[in-house]
Amino acid sequence: MNDMTPDREERSANLKGLGCSRKRVEDARFTQGKGNYVDDIKLPDMLHGDFVRSPYAHARVVSVNKDAALALPGVVAVLTAEDLAPLNLHWMPTLAGDKQMVLADGKVLFQGQEVAFVVASDRYVAADAVELVEVEYEELEVITDPFEALKSDVVLREDLEGQTEGAHGPRKHHNHIFTWEQGDEAGTNQVLDNAEVVAEETMYYHRTHPCPLETCGSVASMDKVNGKLTLWGTFQAPHVVRTVASLLSGIEEHNIRVVSPDIGGGFGNKVGVYPGYVCSIVASIVTGKPVKWVEDRMENLMSTAFARDYHMTGKISATKEGKITGLHCHVTADHGGFDACADPTKFPAGFMNICTGSYDIPVAYLAVDGVYTNKAPGGVSYRCSFRVTEAVYFIERMIEVLAIELDMDAAELRRINFIKKEQFPYTAALGWEYDSGDYHTAWDKALETVDYEGLRAEQAERVAAFKRGETRKLMGVGLSFFTEIVGAGPVKNCDILGMGMFDSCEIRIHPTGSAIARLGTISQGQGHATTFAQILASEIGISADSITIEEGDTDTAPYGLGTYGSRSTPVAGAATAMAGRKIRAKAQMIAAYLLEVHDDDVEFDIDRFVVKGAPERFKTMKEIAYAAYNQAIPGIEPGLEAVSYYDPPNMTYPFGAYVCVMDIDVDTGVPEIRRFYALDDCGTRINPMIIEGQVHGGLTEALAVALGQEIAYDDMGNVKTGTLMDFFLPTAWEVPNYETDYTVTPSPHHPIGAKGVGESPHVGGVPCFSNAVQDAFRAFGLRHTNMPHDHWRIWQTANGLGLHD
């Protein structure tokens, strides 16, 4: 068979299947400026919508006078809650089981809240009209601190007054939303009370924002003649939007078509349903014309989809030797004025209960209290699976704090507590069943590559030099080891508004042997058109170059739950493989018929079926495809199509080991990233080039969050970081080159063993950057300081430790 080898290799290479760094098919359009994003959509007679927004964080809306605005030439309509009320659209349900005002109904709860929607002939006229709408407000006491909210007599959500039961159980106070408890409280307390060593820390994971380069927007077009509504928009989950739009508007679902065109980055920002979408639909219904709404950057940062804002208190116990015995975590979660967190229904704090991390912790307890404040709603998963960044940051800081308490090396402390390879599948104290992992191998590889011991020696020398007055720069070695939980998720416990979180793929093989596959997901830069074709190429033996991938149009794509939480590869990727296998099964029968042998006597070989033991007798997939359409094969239907809806049996658990080496100038507070090493294990690797790109991007967003990016409010509830002047987005100048590496531990339950990667670097990166900053000051007594570590805060830390004396 040796003479067959080169041929097989070549055939395999031609497929451009799994493991190939295939160049992206999307790029030809994008590099030539031919992307088609929402704001590029232009329809005849299209109108533009713009919002009147509240300048106050908490106020009663006394009156809205539209007269002057309506008198402006070009203004078609001004909608307020009063106009939406008859349609029952002045409020809308949130993904978290709460409800949210579409337009201010009597009061406003955060600065930037939507008060009225102006519809006009172009965006300039609409903006002029916004200025002409006169709104009279009566200011109310503002609460921006969740701890204060829980003590205050001020009722933020008057609509819920007297309701002691919320969507997730009892409410303890009028500004309280839910308490979510996981694990064994009594058992954990007992272990903590009797532990040899306990480390405690309080940390605040600040509010930030995904801030994709493209803001959110939609174009709604109600065709009154045929009763059909078409809605284009920045939707990470177009099918869910269709269902919600139908439930809200009463338009039957088959009469609604939702299209996600190209999306300019999502990172969680485009999962939610926003008032702008609803208003563009209503405005189109009212005016009978297409209506476009696109938020500007300030509106984006102020009103759609914040992330994080978790106040976390932890206690971790261990033996004197450093073996962890228990973990206790309490979170006060600031959800803003409405609970609009985008989590699976049964998880009001997402998967925060992954906070035992990569460690074998026998007992743990987690409680999360959700609280209303006068801040914007949101609570999305910014480049992470649901609340996993918070969880990983928490445990990776607790490990560092415990290392300080034990006076132990933090890398060693991790090593002795990792879940061991032979323990998988491993059931964690807070309930998750980790599917697979090999943490020790990854950790050792990482530490060896960066010469960890050498770094520590250099750091010790640096501290000594600093103390001798020979340098003003300290050195930090940031470590993090993370376990993600992605691929939501099994329908038995994961749903969004009642829709199970399966995903889907539908394949049609054309007679000439090329194919189209449609999925329920939607790419926002991840390159689905490239990678899903690769998965399929390996499954069905047709070159990826001959496979079109289509997503985002609910009229053609099968129902799916969309793209976020790194779920596309684990769920839709699995559906793709499974649908591919159905194609292959039918192709096998066709091949056997054509070769005049029994079905079991042929086997799949890269791009063909061959007769077992006689590889010179074969039918290529191309030949089989043709036969499927032009031959009457007894007992087999014509055509070659398949559809698969995949309900994952479990989540997938990617992991990784990161090391960051940083120099910090104690006099300016400027950190300089000298080296960043990222080892990721995302199971089977579909396209190494794209994986690497995802890692670079996720790390850069991690750098941003750790070192400066935040949505900050003053006491009056004013957003202090509403433009890109104040909201930190790193440029090429601030970002280092990253070293990427990998190990491969395939997921045992995923058809191709893939786990998802888009968000791992963010999840692991934030604690790594933060730990690097904090590690630099460990020798001077720092235990913990909150992010973001911007220059000013780092300077303050140095100052507080007396390093400027």
Binding site: K23, R24, T31, Q32, G33, D39, R123, L729
Partner: protein
């Protein structure tokens, strides 16, 4: 509404004439009046560079400028760089080195990079990073953008050498 002005521009080699309010930003005139949708809007405050075009030989963020200020100017946008059959070296290299993900920043990035390489045909990595610092990308972390530009520079230089 204020009176409209008569605007003349040469965009990607074509003469364009239209009426616009003096306060209209150049980016909107391009996108909405001329249907040139390659340049994007990421901020409208001159921070992100998604709207970058070349005006009379200079890189300009087209949200920074009123269309009236550009009256009479010669403008190149991404649509004027390369053709489907003959992509610009930068376009080739962005694809080759995975210098883009969602593609939203890409038109501005490539447009800016064409000027950067004219200003400095042989840049160091540091010079590329500095020269591109006005263009934000949320997806790529820049590493592959820098790689794409450096690779394009050496290809352009090699071609020049070969021609001599």
């Amino acid at each position: 509404m204020s009176d409209k002005m008569h605007i003349k521009l040469k965009v990607n080699g074509e003469d364009k004439e239209f009426l616009a309010e003096p306060r209209e930003l150049l980016i909107y005139a391009l996108r909405e009046k001329l249907n040139i949708t390659g340049p994007h809007v990421g901020c409208e405050t001159s921070h992100c560079g998604a709207c970058t075009v070349t005006i009379d030989g200079k890189s300009v963020k087209s949200c920074t400028m009123f269309v009236a200020q550009a009256n009479g100017a010669e403008i190149t946008t991404i649509e004027g760089i390369g053709t489907p059959d003959a992509l610009h070296v930068l376009q080739e290299n962005f694809r080759e080195h995975h210098g883009l993900q969602c593609g939203f920043c890409t038109p501005g990035m490539i447009t800016r990079a064409t000027k950067l390489l004219e200003e400095n045909p042989n840049p160091t990595e540091e010079e590329v990073r500095f020269g591109m610092a006005g263009n934000i990308c949320r997806c790529t972390g820049y590493q592959n953008i820098v790689k794409s530009i450096l690779s394009a520079a050496s290809e352009i230089n090699a071609a020049k050498e070969a021609a001599q």
